[in-house]
Symmetry: C2
Subunit: 316 residues, 2 copies
């Protein structure tokens, strides 16, 4: 089968079709999304080598339970052992021996087929298009903010970053009815946010201590400094960005202002699917381009152009 492989260079290759292990299904990929994490991995983040990709929707082609065959699914990306203490306590996403689809020790979904544990699969409601369903994984990651932090309806909330991560976080947070502002540097993307009903503010207009809660989704080390400036004393900064390297932090500011900094990664798929199914969110306006798998390297280049939001790989 064809797949987008990163092993120091990025190329579409012919690779063996994967064989499902115990408890695994084979899924024929219909559509996949390119994430900033994929870009960071191709810069050395996580030291990953293999097939990239972790945002997908597809159709089950083979499964231990034949009734699953033909089901349209999206998939959680953390493959937990299911046996350790963390798994037993429901923290499989933090299982110490987990692999992660297209990120850590497990080939990803930028391929014609992918194998996945059945317990990682979520059926996609018929009313959702592939274009909507392919956003389930990053939209679930946005809901993880709400799993980790109590966002009160009267809170002043700033989302830093007008890229797809920031826009999805702002979309997930809308339901809290907190006073939400998307902060960014690109007028085109900010205009986009306003079209989605999200108030915006240019980054250079941020006031010190303006927000009770700041979600840092810029994907850039400098976003953290802005977040620590924008949050009030005793406020909360949620870190969503992952990037390669060790940024310098003003820890004295964190201590003096007693700021809570909360890391946030993968999130709850059912919450994302409920929101999408009920029509409370539609991320498809974020789609800027789609490419076939053969043109995946070009798609990667497109994703990194200034102002570009979501680029999809369409294998249907």
């Amino acid at each position: 089968m064809k797949a987008l492989v990163y092993d120091g260079t990025l190329a579409v290759r012919d690779v063996p079709t994967p064989e499902p292990g115990t408890g695994e299904a084979t899924v024929r990929v219909s559509m996949a999304g390119i994430c900033n994490t994929d870009i960071e991995i191709a810069r050395g983040y996580m030291g990953f080598s293999g097939i990239l990709g972790h945002e997908m929707v597809g159709v089950v082609e083979a499964a231990p339970d034949p009734a699953l065959v033909g089901t349209r699914v999206t998939a959680e990306i953390n493959l937990a052992c299911g046996r350790c203490e963390r798994c037993a306590r429901g923290f499989g996403r933090h299982c110490a021996s987990r692999t992660v689809l297209g990120i850590l020790g497990k080939d990803g979904c930028f391929a014609e087929r992918v194998t996945l544990p059945v317990r990682n699969l979520h059926a996609v409601p018929d009313t959702l298009s592939d274009e909507q369903a392919v956003f389930t994984e990053p939209f679930a990651a946005a809901f993880e903010v709400l799993e980790l932090v109590h966002v009160e309806p009267m809170a002043e909330v700033g989302v830093l970053g007008d890229g797809k991560l920031g826009l999805l976080c702002a979309t997930a947070l809308r339901g809290t009815e907190a006073n939400l502002t998307l902060v960014g540097k690109h007028e085109r993307k900010l205009a986009h946010a306003r079209k989605l009903g999200i108030p915006t503010q240019p980054a250079d207009a941020v006031q010190p201590g303006q927000f009770d809660i700041v979600v840092e989704a810029t994907g850039s080390p400098s976003g953290l400094d802005l977040a620590l400036t924008a949050v009030r004393p005793r406020g909360t900064v949620v870190l969503k960005s992952t990037f390669f390297g060790r940024p310098e932090i003003d820890t004295a500011k964190v201590v003096i202002d007693e700021i809570r900094v909360v890391g946030s990664r993968c999130g709850p798929f059912p919450a994302a699917l409920r929101s999408l199914r009920a029509g409370r969110a539609d991320p498809t306006p974020l789609i800027d381009a789609r490419y076939g798998l053969n043109d995946a390297v070009t798609a990667f280049e497109h994703t990194q152009r200034s102002g570009v939001l979501k680029v999809l790989l369409d294998l249907s």
Copy 2:
């Protein structure tokens, strides 16, 4: 009067006796404690210039209400405006226009006399010695951990740092009945902790993910890396250390393991005084030396010797 002044160099000088402002009392200082923050200030932290010192016990010599004269007191160090929104919400310790005793825009207590707002004063119970009462400020800062973080009785808690800050934090946390371990590098100080009934562990024996909650009280940038290693996924790191500079942080670890990092500074004096008065804590075994005010520069040097805990200035 005499005072220990830092203005680029550290020296005992003759300075004018301060005049109390509106709502302020004059306190004759009986005893004062040297804190690591004082050492950091003498390295450039906070850009402070003036009389150092913020840990003290003394006797009111003049006050707007004459009934206060003669009262033995300790004092909260944040001088809030009392009028802004943060003050109105009870967050005077975070008042944006506050000054801070011996740290920010307000002469400190390494002096024969100090002026302080009456509302900052706390009467010292008669049963407490000056040696005990002088610990109220740093011991209150230790209780701030419990103001900011819920420490469950079944939590595994590690306090990193066998200096006076770490020992006071561990002492404050004992009452939670969490499974508490003090982690340090100095066998002499660790032996000290064990004498206080606190289990200890050498820093090089820390296991990754060993603790649910880690209190970083090493006073050193490297302590943060150890804290992020020692805490489990979804665990909490409380930052108590302040130091000069911007350390590099593994933010990807914070995001991937969804760690909460909580800055913590000054704390509740009533909690510290209750604990001291009830005899649930006695910090006096931490006292390593005492000097007169004339020898304050020597006392500063003594404080920085390896293995030294609390050094006091005795003005009584």
